[in-house]
Amino acid sequence: MDIGLTAKNRWLIIPALAILTAAVYGAALHDRPFDRQEALLGSRSQALLASGGRDAEGRLLPLFVHAGEDRWLAPGQAYMAATAELLSSSPLSPIRWITVLAGVLDVALMFVLATRIFSSTALGTVAALLLLFTPAHAQFSRSAGPDGVWPLPLLMVWLLGLVVFSDLSSPFRRPALAIGAIAAAALAYAQPSSALLVPLFATLSLVVLYKAGQWHWRDVRPACVVFVITLAPLALWFVLHQSAYPDTFGRWLVHLAHVRQPLAGLRAATSGLTVASVSATYWDYFSPAYLFMNGNAGGFAGVFLIPVAGLLIAGGWTITRSGAKQWMGRPVDFLLLGGFLCAPLVAATFKEPRVTGRALVIVPFGVLLATRGLEMIRSRPGAARRILIALLLIAAACQFFFWYRELLGVHS
């Protein structure tokens, strides 16, 4: 279903969404002073520029930028920040505008993705707006901390690649999957906690491909090749600079001792104590008091707005009730539910509860599940359901308003 726009004009929605997002996320951006992590990112990127692309140890264009002591910056953040510094003429460091830009990209990509999944411009627009008005997304799009929105554009591209590939009628299946594979591999460069997302999403991709069926090795081969090529610089870097491993991937992914002794690593990762504490942290990430209704936050907003809870549950229920057989016909459903359930897994491995920046990948999956719920409710007959949808969306807008007002108020 569309909303009265021609196919060509439909894409005019994207710039409109982008302008709205930039306005909402960019308002009063510098009213709040930089925190320690942001200041570090700004100063390191400036130093990198000043030294002609060399780090403090004299390495030219290092993959991970040493930020003193045991701190390292992920390449995605360091080089994006350096590029922004290069282009900016403002006396204020422009690093926060990078995350605003990431937020804008997310919203635009969500429109494309949801329009594609649900074959509806209206649902695509609603999904994009739901993402735009998701408190956690808005908050982290206004902050250039070490964990936040950095991996989300890549995540959306990966999702889009898989969605297009799952559509057997699409003429771009192979290139789409290949681009998705590049994006999935590039997650390793985006932020510390996203390194673990690479194996997680690679596994999820394989399951979706298996569920989708009807593909040949020749369809998947380019994706595998570019996936490996994208990760190759990482392998090369660690071969050349082994001393950088313990404080980067040794901390974010697999401890050096466990790389040397994989069996011991496996034992440690699967010990009862580890599994118990990780499972408790993982479970906590789904607490309604964290996801939807945080009494300690402005406007009682959690990661999502309260009305999104109902839509999200409706979406999840629709997918689970449709049964495993339906997933063969609609592997994207499996992707949405699987992605939503897996998203906090990475954050949980750090065993720290409710660190939203690390678990932010849950947001796009949550928004898409909510849109799936909306689609289900909309498809049922009766005016009451349409009134319900309208009420939920109005309530969401109101709650966001109160949350946002407090956000800006606190900053000023």
Partner: protein, 522 residues
């Protein structure tokens, strides 16, 4: 007409289940947990008082809610009267205090057999349900705690059994029995005050849903059953209207509801705590790995349910709509999701508050077991068998730990061997010359149980004070102090003087928490 063997088979199975579970559940009742907790001591004191004098500790004659100073609202009485009844026949022991709970645990297993048998129309799955519940760590652990919380599960189960019979036969007598047995549950544990009304409301809703109208011939016996059983409750609260206020006051303060009172339902922080308490009740860590955080209620080596049962529960809930009638689907989902409501209301999520969930989770487990064993795939059958074997192995580990190492780990949290210290201290000639250091918590209630009959309460003093000394009028004296405290030089010099001897009170592993210094004038 069914063959005689087929008709008697359920009875044989039920008898076998009762005998086997009794052997397990009544075994080491006095020694695991190693000592009576303060809550069990309170129940035991009420029971002893009622058995001896027919009056509660506060002097009321056969009260419905025996009260004492500090908890004027009074305790739920079913377990207390059961213990008092036993004490009329046999002398006091830890086993007697815990026996009503253990009987409740065995009854749960028996009732689970009849419930699953009726739902699945199979003796084998009935037995499977009973075995699953028997091998649930939480059912055993809570059956060994003498405060009767397990009885909430027992009466929830008896309600479900009668209700299942009613849904099969449409005999209204069963409906009456269902709500009557549900109503009795309100006299077992405070958490029942939330659970029982919910279950009763669910009964009425399902009766309406089943007939698609307000069917008064069904609703009348349901309401009558509940009303009949609640007559004493209503009468008591008419005479003592302050009780509900006292109860509410108690459970909105004293560490409950974050001490916020009713504000906990009106503030963001309070609401968060309620929602989190509900959500965390289902945390896999607690449910499958380590149970309650306190060693008083958990071994911390196993969850409420065995870990290999987790896949059965997940598959069971997933396949519920395929394997069970819609009515029972609602019961199971509702029972599981609303089970932790008492815990959520008081923001204290120990399992003892939401034991009504046990039958519903067990039913989900049996559904999962059946789905995997009866499914078309060989791998799922093999997996089910492997999981059953692993579950058996985990239970053996659990029970071995519960009977041995757990006693050592938990003794500190149950106050240590204070009964041993009291028995040793009161062995002296003159009961007036027994002293306890004030650093030893809650001596008085334990003295009521373990001290000599009719002996005066011991004197609680600061043993380290210079003013403390045994009066010359005492021909002999006992002074009980914490073992770590007696290492202090001041005490060492005092108690190594002539005439003093020390008796170290051993814990299950030989460690010592209490020293009893005994003095005789000889």
């Amino acid at each position: 007409m069914p063959h005689a063997d087929a008709r008697s088979r359920p009875l044989w199975i039920a008898t076998a289940l009762v005998l086997a579970s009794s052997a397990l559940y009544f075994s080491r009742l006095a020694s695991s947990p190693p000592y009576l907790s303060i809550e069990e001591i309170t129940q035991a004191r009420h029971a002893l008082s009622l058995a001896r004098t027919g009056r509660s500790l506060s002097g009321q004659r056969l009260p419905l809610y025996p009260a004492e100073r500090g908890f004027e609202a009074g305790e739920e009485s079913l377990g207390i009267y059961a213990t008092a009844g036993l004490l009329k026949i046999v002398p006091f022991s830890e086993t007697v205090v815990r026996l009503p709970s253990a009987i409740g645990g065995v009854l749960n297993i028996l009732l689970m057999f009849f419930l699953t048998r009726r739902l699945f129309r199979s003796d084998a799955y009935g037995a499977a349900g009973a075995v699953v519940l028997a091998l649930t760590p939480a059912n055993l652990l809570q059956s060994h705690i003498g405060t009767s919380q397990i009885l909430v599960g027992t009466f929830t189960l008896s309600w479900l059994v009668c209700l299942a019979r009613y849904f099969d036969t449409d005999r209204r007598r069963d409906l009456l029995l269902a709500t009557m047995s549900l109503g009795i549950g309100i006299y077992t544990y405070p958490g029942a005050l939330v659970v029982i009304p919910l279950c009763f409301a669910a009964t009425l809703l399902l009766l309406v849903w089943r007939r698609r109208r307000l069917a008064y011939p069904d609703l009348a016996p349901a309401c009558a059953g509940m009303f009949l059983v609640l007559i004493p409750w209503i009468g008591w609260h008419l005479i003592h209207p302050e009780r509900l206020r006292q109860l509410t006051e108690y459970y909105t303060h004293h560490g409950y509801n974050q001490d916020l009172g009713f504000d906990s339902f009106l503030t963001g922080r309070g609401l968060n705590a309620h929602i989190d308490a509900w959500w965390h009740s289902f945390s896999p860590d607690r449910v499958f790995f380590s149970g309650d955080s306190s060693l008083r209620f958990s071994t911390r080596q196993a969850g409420y349910f065995l870990l290999p049962v987790a896949p059965f529960i997940v598959v069971g809930l997933w396949q519920l709509n395929r394997m069970v009638e819609p009515l029972w689907q609602r019961f199971i989902w509702g029972g599981i999701l609303l089970g932790p409501l008492p815990a959520a209301l008081v923001t204290q999520d120990e399992f003892k508050r939401w034991l009504s969930i046990l039958p519903f989770v067990t039913l989900a487990t049996v559904v999962g077991l059946r789905a995997m064993l009866a499914g078309p795939r060989t791998w799922s059958k093999v997996l089910a068998v492997v999981l059953i074997v692993v579950a058996g192995q985990q239970y053996v580990e659990f029970i071995r730990d519960y009977w041995t190492d757990y006693r050592t780990r938990s003794s500190f949290y149950l106050g240590g061997n204070l009964p041993g210290a009291i028995l040793q201290a009161s062995a002296m000639q003159d009961p007036h010359c027994v002293y306890f250091d004030f650093r030893i918590p809650v001596v008085s209630p334990y003295w009521d149980i373990y001290g000599p009959p009719a002996a005066p309460q011991p004197q609680v003093v600061d043993v380290e004070s210079r003013e403390f000394s045994v009066p010359p009028s005492c021909p002999s004296a006992s002074v009980v102090v914490l073992a770590k405290q007696s290492l202090k030089p001041a005490l060492q010099s005092r108690f190594t003087a002539p005439g003093w001897a020390v008796e170290r009170i051993p814990e299950p592993d030989g460690r010592v928490y209490y020293n009893v210094f005994q003095w005789t004038s000889d």
